[in-house]
Symmetry: C2
C-alpha cells in the first residue's frame, strides 16, 4: 500500500520541486520533529506492534493526549498503521508501515549520537559531552 498525499501549501515540497536542496532535510524533520515521534518509531522498531498502553509504558513520561496526537500524526504521515484487534475490551494495535520501517537508519543514527554524547560526570550529575 503506497502512501501518497498532495500538500499544496507546503513550502518545503514546493522548494523541492524548484530544485532547492535544503528541503530534503526539513521534509524529514517535518515528519519526525515532534518530541516523541522518533521515540515511538524506535519502540515499534524494537518491539514490533504494540497496544496503546504498552506504548505509553515503553516510552516513559508521555500523557495520553500527547501519545494519541502523536500516533494520529504518524498515521497521517503513513508511518504507522492502526488496527483494532478486539472489541470488548477494545484493543488497538499500532504497527509500522513499510514507510515507517524505512526510517530505521534515521532513528538508529539519532540514537547512536545520543548514546555517544550523554553520560554521567564524576560527581554523579548528568552531563552532555
Amino acid at each position: 500500500m503506497s502512501h501518497s498525499a498532495t500538500l499544496p501549501e507546503d513550502a518545503c515540497l514546493a522548494a523541492w520541486c524548484a530544485g532547492d536542496e535544503w528541503c530534503a532535510i526539513t521534509c524529514t524533520m517535518d515528519v519526525i520533529e515532534n518530541k516523541w515521534h522518533p521515540v515511538i518509531v524506535d519502540r515499534l522498531l524494537a518491539q514490533g506492534p504494540l497496544h496503546f498502553n504498552q506504548l505509553a509504558d515503553e516510552i516513559g513520561p508521555i500523557t495520553n493526549k500527547v501519545l494519541s496526537n502523536s500516533l494520529q500524526n504518524l498515521e497521517e504521515s503513513g508511518l504507522v498503521d492502526r488496527t483494532i484487534v478486539n472489541d470488548q475490551p477494545v484493543e488497538v494495535e499500532y504497527a509500522l508501515t513499510d514507510r515507517g520501517r524505512s526510517l530505521e537508519p534515521v532513528i538508529d543514527a539519532l540514537a547512536a549520537w545520543g548514546r555517544e554524547h550523554l553520560g554521567t560526570a564524576d560527581d554523579g550529575t548528568a552531563v552532555r559531552y
Copy 2:
C-alpha cells in the same frame, strides 16, 4: 576542546542516568529539533566555514532573527564555533566543531530519507510518497 555543560533540570538526562532508553533519541532531538538546525549543520558540512549572510543564502527562506537564534543555540550546544575574522567591515565565520561534525551520519540519514520520500507527481504537483 571538550564541551561539557551540566543541565540540572533536564528530565532527559536524569532519565538517562536512571537507565531509561528513550532519552538517547530525545537528547539528540533536543540538539537538532529546531527547524533549521539540521540544515545549518548540513550546509557547514558541505561547504565548510561560512559567513552569516552566506549561510542565509545557502539555507533558503530563513530570517535574520531565526538564523541568529539558531546559530546561538548551536554555539551553546558546542556544535558550532563563531569566529570574528575581520573588523570594519565586521566579518564573522561559523564553523563546525568536532562535536558538530560528529552529527554527519545523522544529517546524512535525514537527508537520504527526505530525498527518497519526496518527489513530483505526474501532474506536476508536489507529492510525499
